[in-house]
């Protein structure tokens, strides 16, 4: 019905236009379904949107973690069109590194002020570097030898490495959940914004994620290496002819993805105060969903997708039940892939056809 108001070249049939509108706004409609539904329900039952607003706030904090992981997926996919299956488990290793370092550095629940900030910064740096170098090593061992193999081959080695990392985590901490000391009093209210209590954990997620993402985006847009990365993503052959060392550039991309995963690991450990060797698998799938939702290969899309998935996940956790959340997120993943494989901000890709 709205197709009439949109100026269209006369040659295009009406059905095609409607199809495009459905394709463009259908995904947004699906994504808005849950918040709108529960918003109406809240208004009817409680008369205000406080609960939904709190859900969204928590969701954005969670989403910041997913965004950091999703950036790693999207960078790697953008440059070599590989779903780095081991990326979620890399994040898990990051959270384990952070957990182990807390004791080593000597931070306890009592540590306050400057000591805490400096200690956490140190842990952040070490966790980031550890994950970054681990990711580079994985690329060197498992993906580079298969650069010219069929697409299936590196995907399978990625799954293999995912299992290996999970077992490393299992040997390291053991099979059970492990509590992380609540260094920053995550759940303590710092201030109230529009009637929504904002906690220390939310602020932590914000102050770590925002500068990292801004730095990353600027790095890729402005630096020489960033330009090399974009060139390699567009056409590795041509990039090589232009004098770009493609292998180094790809390694560097994995390094950047690993750095972000390490940072996400620390935030997760502090925010959830609970780590588990299997957390990487679910986190990886959720973040991959985020990356696809934003349009894989698109950095801003990954961040946006991470935040949206965080909100959906939080609403589902709070209203439907934590145990169903993975199923709901994966349901969204399937819907997105079926109806709009290029995502919210993405371009038509070769994969999506």
């Amino acid at each position: 019905m709205e197709s009439a108001s949109i100026p269209t070249p006369p040659s295009r049939p009406r059905r095609e236009v409607v199809g495009e509108i459905v394709s463009r706004f259908g995904l947004a409609a699906i994504l808005l379904a849950l918040p709108v539904l529960y918003g109406i329900q809240d208004l009817q039952e409680e008369g205000d949107l406080g609960r939904l607003a709190t859900n969204i706030k928590d969701g954005l904090s969670n989403g910041a973690i997913w965004a950091l992981i999703a950036v790693g997926y999207t960078l790697v996919y953008g440059i070599i069109e590989l779903i780095n299956f081991a990326h979620g488990d890399l994040f898990m290793i990051g959270s384990f590194v952070a957990y182990s370092l807390i004791a080593t550095v000597g931070l306890t629940v009592g540590t306050g002020g400057l000591g805490l900030v400096l200690g956490l910064l140190l842990i952040l740096a070490i966790a980031m570097v550890a994950c970054g170098s681990l990711n580079v090593m994985i690329e060197r061992v498992a993906y580079r030898p298969l650069r010219n193999a069929p697409r299936l081959a590196p995907l399978i080695t990625a799954i293999g490495f995912s299992f290996i990392l999970q077992n490393v985590g299992l040997l390291w901490i053991g099979g059970g959940h492990r509590g992380v000391p609540d260094l920053i009093d995550t759940q303590d209210r710092l201030f109230t914004l529009l009637g929504v209590p904002v906690t220390n954990g939310d602020v932590l997620a914000l102050v770590v994620t925002t500068p990292l993402v801004l730095l990353l985006v600027n790095f890729i847009n402005l630096s020489r290496m960033g330009r090399a990365m974009r060139a390699t993503a567009q056409d590795p052959q041509a990039a090589r002819l232009m004098g770009i060392n493609v292998d180094t550039t790809i390694s560097f991309t994995f390094l950047l993805g690993g750095l972000m995963a390490g940072a996400a690991g620390l935030i997760y450990a502090l925010y959830q105060t609970d780590i588990w060797f299997f957390s990487g698998f679910t986190a990886g799938l959720i973040s991959f969903t985020a990356a696809v939702m934003g349009g894989i290969g698109n950095l801003k899309g990954a961040v946006l997708g991470g935040l949206i998935i965080g909100v959906i996940q939080q609403i589902s956790d709070n209203r439907i039940g934590t145990e169903w959340t993975p199923a709901i997120v994966f349901g969204f993943l399937v819907l997105i892939l079926v109806f709009r494989p290029q995502g919210l901000l993405g371009e038509q890709t070769r994969e999506a056809g």
């Binding site: 298969l146 490495f161 077992n167 145990e323 169903w324 199923a327 994966f330 994969e351």
Partner: protein
Amino acid sequence: MSTAADPPAKRRLPPLKGLDGGRRSALLAAVLIVFALIFPFFLDSGSALLEDSTVALVYVVMALGLNIVVGFAGLLDLGYVAFFAIGAYTMGWLGSSFFSTRDIHFGVAEFLQAQPGIHLNWLVILPVAAVLTALAGAILGFPTLRLRGDYIAIVTLAFGEIINRIAVNSDEGVFGIGSFNLTNGRRGITPVDKIDLPLVEQFTTLNIRPWYWTALVLALFVVFINVRLRDSRIGRAWIAVREDEIAAVSMGIPTVRVKLLAYAMGAALGGMAGTFLGSFFNTVNADQFEFSFSIFVLAMIILGGLGSIWGVVVGALALSFINTRLIPDVLNEVPSKIGLDFDLTQLGFGIFGFLLVIMMVLRPQGLIPEKRVQAELTGDEGERIDPIVHTRAP
């Protein structure tokens, strides 16, 4: 369409010393099958080795099913465990006292007649499960039709995980709706009826032999189906889709139907294996249906050789014996001997992960490679076979 007769060209080859290649492998297969048939007589009727062999044979069925999807049609399916789950739950629902308010019996032994619940003979449940899983396979296949490569892997993985979440959490309503107990979650459906075949001695937990023979017959039947499918028009269509989808389309292959058929066939075999294991393990519970199981089956195919039927059989047998015998019994002592303190059985899937990486980097074509896949994976254009010569004429 007939593929029954070998092309006469093969017969006209001058006979080598003794037997030619085809006959030699046929003889080898016959010897192996005879050995597999009489193998239980060398063992105690309830021995653990016989039990492990039975499970290994069922894994062969599953691996061959997944091989249709991944090996023949080239669609990477990471959610194969879903079909195992659906098959096993079909067995649980239709062959136990789980739905105790119902009272349906068909073709089962005297003592089961007296019990409440739905009790159908396994021979009835088997085709039901095959049809259900084939439908599930086609439903899963449908959204992936527009996608390629990695995205298919992710959608199938998501499907497997959704089925897993439903299995784990549906002891009180599905997706929090209602309060119907569908799967009994982690406690599982138990006990499950034993398989009961006419003219065969009774299936019990103490006498594994009939289980073993049933699994063997099932596995041989599935090998036969696989060979016939591979050499059929559909099999060639799968391979064409795997090799080059665009070329396949322009040759007039209906890719939608061909792909859905691959999913459905592969899924049906997984479901049939699921009914057997549900009965054999005497329980159907959600912990059996983890993502890692999908990878376990995938590793069998990769180890054996993508698309190679005999390779997949060897890969499945090898990996299941590594899992049940080598790791717990033989290698478990190793870490403590070299001064490390951990339990190797915990590392089972880490070892499989390692195996996947090693195989892909060093020998991507598998132990017994399929010629065409080998040519593609090793990039050896010189060895690339001419498809016209080696494809049987329709």
